[in-house]
C-alpha cells in the first residue's frame, strides 16, 4: 500500500497532492509535462524530501515532515523505473537485474536462483550477457522492470514507462506490461501523459494539473463525469473545437472542426464552440448506414483497446476526419470483424453531441 499527502515547492511551482494506492492495484497519474508527476514519483522514491507532508509505504511511515522522519531511497522498498530506464551501461543485463540483490536476500545460491528466475520471467535469459546499448527499447524496458521487481518492492513506481519506445514497439509492449501489472502484489503508481495509456493501465486514475490533483477515482467515474475538459481529453471522450458555420434544419447547427463538419444541436448563439462526444454515442458499421444519424464519417480502424482491459467493451480509435474514438461491445467488434486498417463508417446523432461554449 502507498499513501501520500505532500506539499513541495520548486521555484514558482507548487505541488500539493494526496493519493493512496492499495496493494495489488494500479493508480495511473496523468498530467501534462510540467504538472509535477515526476516530482511526485521522486518524492515517493525518497529521491526528494518534500517541504511538508507524509508518505507511507505498506504500514511504515517513510517521510514525515512533522517528526523530521526521512527514510532515504535505499531503505524504502520501492521499485522505481525511470523514464529512460537508467540501466547501468557498464554492466551486463544479468548484472543490471542482479544489482540490488545483496546479502539481505539470502545466501549466494538463493540470490542466484532468484536472479535466474527473474531473467526467465522477463524473457532475458538469452540476453543476459549483453550490455544495455545492445538491446532494443522493449528489451531495455524489460531489464528495468526485472531489476526493480526482482527485489519484490511494496510499491512500484513507473515514470512514463512507454515514452522511450517507438510507436510500434509501444503497441506490442503495452499488452505485455498490462498483464504484468495486473498480476503484481505491489501497489503500482504509473505516471503518463498519454490518454490511451491512462485508459489501458488505470483501474483508478488521478489527474494532476499544475501540481494539484483535480480528480481521482475509478476509471468509470472519469468516463461518465470528467471534471475538466482536460480530464475529458485524457480519458478519450471526443473533444472537438470549431466554429458554427451555419444553421441546419430542426434547430441544429453545422460546426466546422478540424478535418470536417459536424451537425450538432444549435447552442443559440454563433461563434466558437467545444463539442463533447461520448465514444458510446458512436455507431460503427462496415456499410454506409441507412439510419437517422445526422453525422456519418468514413475512416479506418487505427487501434482496438479492450475496455476495461480484458473487459466487455472495446475502444476503437478511428482515422476519420476529425479523428474519433468509439466504444462498442466486444461482441459487436467481432461481428463487424474489426481489426486495424478495416474501413468503417462512424455515425452519431446530432443530439448525442454536447455543445459547450468555447
Amino acid at each position: 500500500m502507498l499513501a501520500l499527502d505532500v506539499r513541495h515547492r520548486l521555484g514558482d511551482f507548487r505541488l500539493e497532492a494526496a493519493l493512496d494506492v492499495p496493494p495489488a492495484s494500479v493508480l495511473v497519474l496523468v498530467g501534462e509535462n510540467g504538472s509535477g508527476k515526476s516530482t511526485l514519483l521522486r518524492i515517493v522514491a525518497g529521491l526528494i524530501e518534500p517541504d511538508d507532508g507524509r508518505v507511507t509505504i505498506g504500514t511504515r511511515r517513510v517521510s514525515d515532515r512533522a517528526t523530521g522522519l526521512f527514510v532515504p531511497a535505499r531503505d524504502r522498498g520501492v521499485g522505481y523505473v525511470a523514464q529512460d530506464y537508467a540501466l547501468f551501461p557498464h554492466l551486463s543485463v544479468r548484472d543490471n537485474v542482479g544489482f540490488g540483490l545483496g546479502p539481505a536476500h539470502g545466501s549466494r545460491a538463493a540470490r542466484r536462483a532468484r536472479l535466474d528466475e527473474a531473467l526467465t520471467r522477463f524473457d532475458l535469459r538469452d540476453l543476459a550477457g549483453r550490455r544495455p546499448s545492445q538491446l532494443s527499447g522493449g528489451q531495455q524496458q524489460r531489464v528495468a522492470l526485472a531489476r526493480a521487481l526482482v527485489l519484490e518492492p511494496l510499491v512500484l513506481l513507473l515514470d512514463e514507462p512507454l515514452a522511450a519506445l517507438d510507436l510500434q514497439t509501444r503497441r506490442a509492449v503495452r499488452g505485455e506490461l498490462r498483464r504484468l501489472l495486473a498480476g503484481l502484489p505491489c501497489a503500482t503508481l504509473f505516471v503518463t501523459h498519454q490518454p490511451t495509456e491512462a485508459l489501458v493501465f488505470g483501474e483508478r486514475i488521478a489527474v494532476l494539473e499544475e501540481g494539484r490533483v483535480t480528480q481521482c477515482g475509478p476509471r468509470l467515474e472519469f468516463l461518465l463525469h470528467p471534471r475538466s475538459t482536460y480530464a475529458a481529453e485524457f480519458l478519450g471522450v471526443n473533444l472537438l473545437e470549431g466554429d458554427i458555420v451555419g444553421p441546419a434544419d430542426g434547430g441544429l447547427a453545422r460546426v466546422q472542426v478540424e478535418g470536417g463538419t459536424i451537425t450538432v444541436p444549435h447552442p443559440g448563439r454563433p461563434g466558437r464552440v467545444r463539442l463533447l462526444l461520448h465514444p458510446r454515442e458512436i455507431t460503427l458499421s462496415r456499410e454506409a448506414p441507412g439510419g437517422s444519424a445526422r453525422n456519418v464519417l468514413r475512416g479506418a480502424v487505427e487501434e482496438l483497446i479492450p475496455e476495461p482491459p480484458d473487459g466487455e467493451r472495446v475502444r476503437v480509435l478511428l482515422s476519420t476526419r476529425p479523428p474519433l474514438t468509439a466504444e462498442i461491445t466486444r461482441e459487436s467488434s467481432e461481428l463487424l470483424g474489426l481489426s486495424p486498417g478495416a474501413a468503417v463508417h462512424a455515425s452519431f446523432k446530432a443530439t448525442g453531441v454536447n455543445v459547450l461554449p468555447s
Binding site: A45, P72, R74, D75, A86, P89
Partner: protein, 287 residues
C-alpha cells in the same frame, strides 16, 4: 562588370585568409614542438643509448625517478580521489577556496612552489618545528622529492577526476539508490567504473607531471645523486659534464613521457578539463 541595377552586392568572400593563416600557424607550432624531439632522437644512435643506459649514474637516476613518480602518483590518487568525489558531489562552505588551493600548483612557478614547501616543512618552516619534535626532517630527503612531486601533480589528477565523477548521469545514481545501494556501494559499482576514463587520464597526467618535476624538487629536496637527483635533475647536471649521458637520460625520459601520453589517449575518450554535456551513462536511444 557588375550590373548597375543590381542591389548593393553582398560582400564577396575574399581569399580564404583565415584558413591559410591558421594553417601556417599550425605548421610553425608543429615545427617548434617537433623539431627538438627529432633533434634529440637524431643525435645519439640507438646502440649507444642502450650501452649508456647501463651506466650506474643513469640507472640510479632512473630508479629514483620511477620510485618517486610511482609513490607520488599513488599519493595523489589516495588523497585526490576522495577530494575529487567531494568536490564533484557536495556543496560546502569554503569550497571555492579549496578549489583555488588545489588549482594553485598548476599556475605556480615550480621554484616558488619548492621555496614555499621549504617555508612550510623546512627546519624554520610553519610545520618544521612539529616535524622536528618527532624526529623528522623533510627537506633534502627522498620523501621530500615525493612531497614536491605530489604537490605539483595533484591538480592534474583532481581536475579531470572531478569532471569525470560529476559527469556520471545523475539518473544512474538515483537508480542505484532505489536498488538499495549505499553511497559507498554506488561509488564503487557505478561512479568509479563510469568515470574511469577520466580518472585514468588524470593519473597519466599526474604521473607525467611528477616524472618531469624539476623546479620544486631541486629547491625543496636538493640535488643529491642517488637520493634526490631524479632524471630531470640528472639531465641538467649531465649537460654541464657529460653531454652523452644527458642525451641518454633525456631520451629515456622522452620515451617514458610518450608512454604516459598513450596511456592518456588510448581507450574511451576521457573528460579531462571540461564538464561533459552528455555522458556515456545514457542508455542508447530506444528502438
Amino acid at each position: 562588370m557588375t550590373d548597375p541595377h543590381a542591389p548593393a552586392a553582398p560582400s564577396r568572400p575574399g581569399p580564404p585568409l583565415l584558413p591559410v593563416v591558421s594553417a601556417v600557424a599550425l605548421g610553425l607550432l608543429v615545427l617548434l614542438l617537433g623539431l627538438p624531439v627529432v633533434g634529440l632522437l637524431a643525435r645519439v644512435p640507438p646502440p649507444e643509448i642502450l650501452r649508456r643506459a647501463g651506466d650506474p649514474g643513469v640507472l640510479a637516476a632512473l630508479r629514483l625517478s620511477l620510485l618517486t613518480t610511482l609513490a607520488s602518483t599513488a599519493l595523489v590518487a589516495i588523497l585526490g580521489l576522495p577530494a575529487a568525489y567531494l568536490l564533484a558531489t557536495r556543496e560546502f562552505r569554503g569550497k571555492r577556496a579549496v578549489e583555488v588551493m588545489i588549482d594553485l600548483p598548476m599556475v605556480l612557478p615550480p621554484t616558488v612552489a619548492g621555496f614555499a614547501l621549504l617555508m612550510a616543512f623546512g627546519r624554520a618552516g610553519l610545520a618544521g618545528g612539529a616535524l622536528a619534535s618527532i624526529g623528522v626532517s623533510l627537506p633534502f630527503t627522498l620523501p621530500a622529492v615525493i612531497v614536491a612531486q605530489t604537490f605539483m601533480a595533484a591538480p592534474f589528477f583532481v581536475t579531470p577526476a572531478r569532471a569525470g565523477i560529476a559527469g556520471v548521469d545523475r539518473r544512474l545514481i538515483d537508480a542505484a539508490a532505489t536498488l538499495r545501494a549505499s553511497e559507498g556501494a554506488t561509488l564503487v559499482r557505478v561512479i568509479l567504473p563510469l568515470a574511469w576514463p577520466s580518472i585514468r587520464a588524470g593519473l597519466a597526467l599526474a604521473a607525467a607531471r611528477a616524472l618531469g618535476e624539476f623546479g620544486a624538487t631541486i629547491t625543496f629536496a636538493g640535488n643529491l645523486p642517488g637520493t634526490t637527483q631524479t632524471m630531470p635533475l640528472a639531465v641538467y647536471v649531465a649537460l654541464q659534464s657529460d653531454i652523452d649521458r644527458a642525451f641518454v637520460l633525456a631520451i629515456l625520459l622522452l620515451f617514458m613521457s610518450v608512454a604516459l601520453l598513450f596511456a592518456l589517449r588510448l581507450g574511451p575518450a576521457a573528460t579531462v578539463f571540461s564538464l561533459p554535456h552528455a555522458r556515456a551513462g545514457r542508455p542508447s536511444p530506444a528502438r
